[in-house]
Symmetry: C2
Subunit: 346 residues, 2 copies
């Protein structure tokens, strides 16, 4: 039974700094009707990701800003509950940019059917979705790790970082994570097999902690955090080092740019290459990468951790926490139950 | 006649900030004797280049520091006046890292015989030497300019910048220089054919001046200066832009890093690639590049401007001025006369 109305979360106002819950508004809306070529999707897992903070801003960005009163954007995994689409059927599990709402129209080029046999379907928002692709392409296309090299990844227990580190281990590297807190550090070392993890909240002298963890210096830095962590890592880069700029979550709530020391000679003398990227730059290469990673997940070679928050109404609070690093693993908002009979149902 | 003694300039002390003349000392020394496989070179043109400021520091750098009391390093062009070398003969014109002195021993792998027919021999320190190679490889290997793109180069009338801009014009780009003062700007526009030049000393709002000069944004930035110029240029970079980090002369006299605003999202969203390089990274490719550039110089397709200061004793003052931007074109210190009969003698 499809209800007549649904709940959704819209952007109520733009946060000047750290978002607060009143920047969001939960509202009821009419149930949308799929037109020819479309499906209606019942949301199960919403993805909350750091890049969405940029979309809350009214400035030029690689992603268009969300308008005031518009549904918060974001990826999601759901079940097709009505179809006027040629190939998508009722009961199919799909992933798309569905937005923060209980039901959404889909069926376009970006709607992707999920095979629920491979892994829990929420992973289509995570290790087998955008964050997993981000890890794969940022690491291999930009980081280009070689066996024996040292790879450092910040936000190491996060959706992207946890994958980067495991892939870099498989590629024969020494892998050092940076994460906030003993629990996260223990997880990436003990569960995921990183060689070391620096707890930036406890380290005191971050440079010294990095030097201890990276006795041969740093060849590849996968950057998710920015700020003082960026400064400390870049000072330890080896000659010919590569920095894959994925994000800088520590800076997203700043209205004015933070001031930082210039290190002009560093990248010249060390011949460091720093390159920014957006995962969609590699969209044409997703399928083979996802096939490889799907097999690794299925065989347990690639582990993942998700932080699942219950209830659409809790999405704003969870997202605010994400920007503070409160989550532990890939943040998912569970909006609806999984259908009975899924192999990895939870 | 080879004299019994020669004059040389040694590093007397390390400057804490901007060097002063007392950081250098002119002294007399015994004439060195070439051993088997060596030649004695009478210096004609000393090269003073910004990177030498880094060698005056007692810190780790890609170039080893010059010791206190040691001869100031640097490239030079001279005439072989005595030879115990298999192929280098008395009268040959050579280029090597000869140091700030009237005579030097050479003959190793880096000693390069100059063909004085192609261009004035001083160009072996300039457009057909290290600065020219820096321009060529930084622009083509890292900048990778495409026809129709906009290339910006700072220190545009300098040894490297003047070459970068002319090469980028040949490659079909819109070329915008940044230089200090109306004379330098007029030179690069009127003599070298740059499309525009921003006078950073007169511009006031550098960002606005750059936007006016680069209506389609900036695709390639060849960075020689750093500091506020770097900030202004990077804000105008186009998506997929490339930054070739050659140097940052505005920062070399700073003892502590200057503070600057972080712009974390910029390079991510724009997918900018920034890469540091040292010209010697491309040493294996010098010969064909130099052959092409030599022909361009010979046919007048590639112009150059040198700023020739007379007398070894004036090298420190000229070098201090170079770090302030006082020179106009490639700085050369003329230490000795050219032999009679050279085709481009001056």
């Amino acid at each position: 039974m499809i209800p007549k109305t649904q709940r959704r979360i819209v952007l109520a106002s733009r946060p000047p700094g750290e978002p607060v819950e009143s920047n969001f508004r939960l509202e009821e809306a009419a149930m949308p009707e799929p037109q020819h070529g479309e499906v209606l999707v019942r949301m199960m897992y919403l993805s909350a990701d750091p890049y969405m903070r940029g979309r809350m801003r009214d400035g030029a960005s690689y992603a268009a800003p969300i308008g005031i009163g518009q549904v918060m954007g974001g990826g999601g995994v759901g079940e097709v509950v009505a179809s006027k689409h040629a190939t998508l059927k009722v009961g199919d599990i799909v992933e798309d940019r569905l937005g923060w709402q209980e039901y959404a129209i889909a069926g376009g080029a970006n709607t992707r059917r999920i095979d629920p046999v491979i892994a829990p379907i929420s992973t289509a928002n995570g290790i087998l979705g955008m964050p997993g692709m981000t890890a794969w392409f940022g690491l291999f296309e930009i980081g280009q790790p070689r066996p024996g090299e040292t790879v450092v990844v910040s936000a190491a227990s996060g959706a992207v970082g946890q994958v980067v580190g495991q892939l870099a281990k498989m590629a024969g590297c020494r892998v050092v994570g940076i994460a906030g807190g003993a629990k996260k550090c223990a997880y990436v070392q003990d569960e995921l097999g990183f060689d070391a993890c620096v707890d930036y909240k406890a380290a005191g002298d971050l440079g010294a902690a990095l030097r201890a963890a990276c006795p041969k210096g740093i060849d590849v830095y996968f950057e998710n955090v920015g700020g003082a962590i960026y400064d400390a890592v870049t000072l330890q880069m080896n000659t010919w080092g590569r920095i894959a700029l994925c994000g800088a979550i520590s800076q997203y709530n700043h209205e004015k740019p933070e001031m930082a020391p210039r290190l002009p000679g560093l990248f010249v003398g060390k011949r460091v290459t720093m390159r920014g990227f957006i995962v969609s730059d590699f969209a044409g290469k997703y399928d083979p990468a996802r096939a490889l990673m799907g097999e690794m997940v299925q065989t347990g070679k690639l582990k993942f951790r998700e932080d699942i928050v219950q209830g659409l109404e809790n999405a704003p609070r969870a997202f605010i926490g994400l920007l503070r690093g409160d989550n532990f693993g890939k943040l998912q908002i569970k909006v609806g139950d999984e259908p009975a009979g899924l192999p990895h149902r939870r």
